[in-house]
Amino acid sequence: MSSPESSPYNEDDASPHGETRKTEWPLWEVFIRGQHGLSHRHVGSLHAADAEMAIKNARDVYTRRNEGVSIWTVRASDIAASSPEEKGSLYEPANDKVYRHPTFFDIPDEVGAM
């Protein structure tokens, strides 16, 4: 097993976002569920050596004022994301399907609330 001590530290091999150098703690994305039963929401990222430490750091960095009741952390490099160039092909199919919205249908007033 390689340890950071035994592997040379090359300061210049910068890594893209989400990846990490040998001596840099990996990047974790942080998701927090607020007080009111909403879904977890992305709040930012942080560095930590492992998952346990990522949760502890997330508590200190992102919930100093009771902002959350639950924390998720996930390695940034494990996240798959849609790319902005696909915006058209991904979302356009929804544009011509207005009948998916309830306002598409005219219900007579006599029917009452629906």
Partner: protein, 330 residues
């Protein structure tokens, strides 16, 4: 400000007609109040400029812990100590929110840290001034955080999404900072004669350095014009400085303290104060590294980095060991 003298492309602002289609779409999105997100196309100048600006802002939050950290062990009461600790911890948080915003632009945390430690990247001039008495904790919260708020509030609307979101979090916490500082000032200004004198002395020393935080007039600067077109700078330095003086002068009067500027006067017609400019030569000298505490601040950061190395490496080794044990067990 927490980011001072940021240089952009230096080429002046292009008109929409001069832009390639990609860049025009980018600029039109910004003009319409839209946000740019990490994976979106952006001009290289925008990206580089933001890395410098957000990085410098982050460094300021981190180095800014030092002058206040200086007084944690000597706070006059346990409550004041707990409050100051919480404030300084918030500043560490601000640094981290900002580093994480900068990292979305393709730099690593270590890159930024290395450039701070080598002196290649700057932090705000204000943190190169010493905190000499307890009243300085009041002056820093009231004036320094107060000046920072002037800049950070409009930056919540900046065009770069991760930066804007970091600013929203930061602004929520800043008013605690300014209020705890003003609270200290009130106590000191209304205390014994010696305490009042201390409060006045702190104001005397921090007034002009606080005005310098906004940077020299940039109404004519091509760098600022580009940054404003990109909406990564929302107001000119002079606008923000004026706003700060207008807000702070009446507060000083409330405290019964005198702002160390004989020319300071309310212009009844405009509703704005006229005031003396700080010594800009001193400002540039501090930026160059010749302020009272530049050496000490950088030494402290370097020492923390060097002495923390075994912890950073040890925890990586531990994480690797745990991971390989877990893999072996599976």
């Amino acid at each position: 400000m927490y980011a001072q003298m940021i240089k952009s492309t230096g080429q002046g602002v292009k008109s929409l007609d001069e832009m390639e289609p990609e860049e025009r779409a980018f600029q039109e999105r910004i003009d319409a109040g839209g946000k740019i997100e990490p994976k979106d196309w952006m001009p290289e100048g925008y990206r580089k400029n933001l890395i410098r600006q957000i990085g410098q802002h982050a460094h300021s939050e981190i180095v800014g812990q030092l002058p206040e950290g200086n007084w944690i062990t000597r706070a006059p009461t346990l409550e004041r100590k707990a409050i100051l600790l919480a404030k300084v911890q918030d500043e560490a948080g601000h640094g981290l929110y900002l580093y994480c915003a900068a990292e979305t632009l393709g730099v690593t945390r270590d890159d930024l840290t290395r450039d701070l430690l080598s002196g290649k990247m700057k932090y705000s001039s204000i943190f190169n001034y010493p905190t000499l008495t307890w009243a300085d904790m009041g002056a820093v919260g009231w004036l320094v955080d107060g000046a920072a708020i002037m800049n950070q509030v409009p930056l919540q609307r900046t065009s770069y999404g991760p930066y804007a979101r970091a600013m929203v979090r930061i602004c929520k916490e800043e008013s605690f900072h300014q209020r705890q500082g003003f609270d200290i000032m009130m106590k000191m200004a209304n205390g014994t004669e010696a305490q009042h004198k201390m409060a006045q002395d702190a104001l005397n020393r921090f007034w002009f350095p606080s005005l310098m935080m906004f940077g020299p007039s940039d109404a004519e600067s091509v760098h600022s014009a580009q940054s404003m077109a990109w909406k990564i700078k929302m107001n000119t330095n002079d606008e923000l400085r004026q706003k700060f003086v207008d807000q702070t002068a009446p507060q000083a009067a409330y405290l019964g303290l005198t702002i160390p500027d004989d020319t300071l006067k309310l212009n009844e017609e405009t509703g704005h104060y006229t005031f003396a400019e700080p010594d800009w030569e001193e400002f540039f000298d501090v930026l160059k590294g010749n302020g009272p505490c530049n050496t000490e601040r950088l030494e402290a950061r370097n020492k923390a980095w060097d002495e923390g190395r075994w912890v950073r490496e040890g925890l990586i080794a531990h994480a690797e060991k745990k991971r390989s044990r877990k893999m072996a067990a599976e």
